[in-house]
Amino acid sequence: MSLEKIFEQYPNRRYIMFGGKGGLGKTTFSAATSYYLAKKGHKVLVFSVDPQASLTDIFQRDIFGKGPTEIMPNLYAQEIDADRRVKAYQDEIRQKIRDMYGMEEIPEEIESYIQAAAAEPAMEESAIFDEVVDIVVKAEYDYYIYDLVPLGHALYYLSMASVYDAWIGKITGLREQMREYDQVAAVMRRQKELDEDAILNELLYIKDRINKSSSILTDKEKTAFFFVLTAEEMIIKDTQKAAQLFAKFDVPLSGYIINRVLPAELKDKNIPDYLKHRFEMQDHYLEVIDKQFAGEILASVPEMERDVTGLPMIEKLAKTMFGDF
């Protein structure tokens, strides 16, 4: 099975993700895949959920915090500015408090809480998570390519969805129970109407958003998740471990792509011992990969002669991944 076939065979898989250890080429593959799909005539958005995003570098365009930016016809790229989103969100909360209670100034203890909350490390991740839901819910593109964070973070990102979901489920339960007491009191005092519980509505809204996002990540029909690895021992082992963990979270794994393979034609040339050893190591681990991930390797991408930045290099890489198009 080749990468191209996967896209032809499963046209409904519209959320494309690349996972793997840091520095193996997730961003490069995200960019190349979005290039390929855009050239095929689909409207594509490639976006980064990494606070240290590098789409700006690979497309050689400053897109950080600028919303979806057109790179070429049909291809849009976006890097989320988490800081700015958090600040805007804080202001929104302050304004809501002022409006609700007609206050001029936010009470000091409330204000200090708003500031302290934004300093939490989880805040940035949550803000990005929330923006991703915004992006996906709008459904303006044919394909969404997630440029994911390195493995550990990606797992955190996935587990966050299920933890949030369970937590919100519990407090929504408590809130509903409180509502029952309200109703009992209202019936006894013969009040006809009960005010709407704004907090309960808010909780249901949050729950809905989290469900939307995590259901996309784990939707076997619509999502394709690819692992990137290289022919090295540590990376093979880590990838196996990560694949098991991802499977636990019901992430539908579509296959593996080997990156940075030294081109075999070099072997016939007069090469120094150093490179010969690299080839021996590579051949050994390619065999290991073949055994461990039998039938699930979708593409083997050669080490390029220079780093992949700019559209001409992205195009070249896309052709090695998907064949000529």
Binding site: Q90, M160, M178, R189, R190, I199, E202
Partner: protein, 90 residues
């Protein structure tokens, strides 16, 4: 006639309130009291880190903050107050 009508509804109203007072007022008061302590529990699990008890990732707890602003100071007082035997009688 209208005078009679008014007397009658006034009488029924009084009976209604009397019955409510005898039969239901206490239960209603109890329901509201339970409701109030649940409200405090709710604020604790959503805004816990105001007291140094972090429970929820703060992004979504901020969304709920505007609704509990009026209760925050009574909640803090209740949570941080020293407890003694007479509390059980209250």
């Amino acid at each position: 006639m209208a005078e009679d009508e008014r007397k009658r509804t006034g009488f029924f109203q009084a009976v209604k309130e009397f019955v409510y007072g005898v039969a239901a007022h206490d239960s209603a008061r109890f329901a509201l009291k339970t409701r109030a302590s649940m409200e405090h529990l709710f604020i604790l699990i959503t805004m816990g880190d105001m007291l140094g008890v972090p429970i929820l990732p703060p992004y979504y707890s901020l969304r709920l903050l505007p609704y509990v602003v009026p209760q925050i100071s009574t909640w803090k007082r209740r949570m941080l107050r020293e407890k003694d035997l007479t509390d059980a009688l209250a």
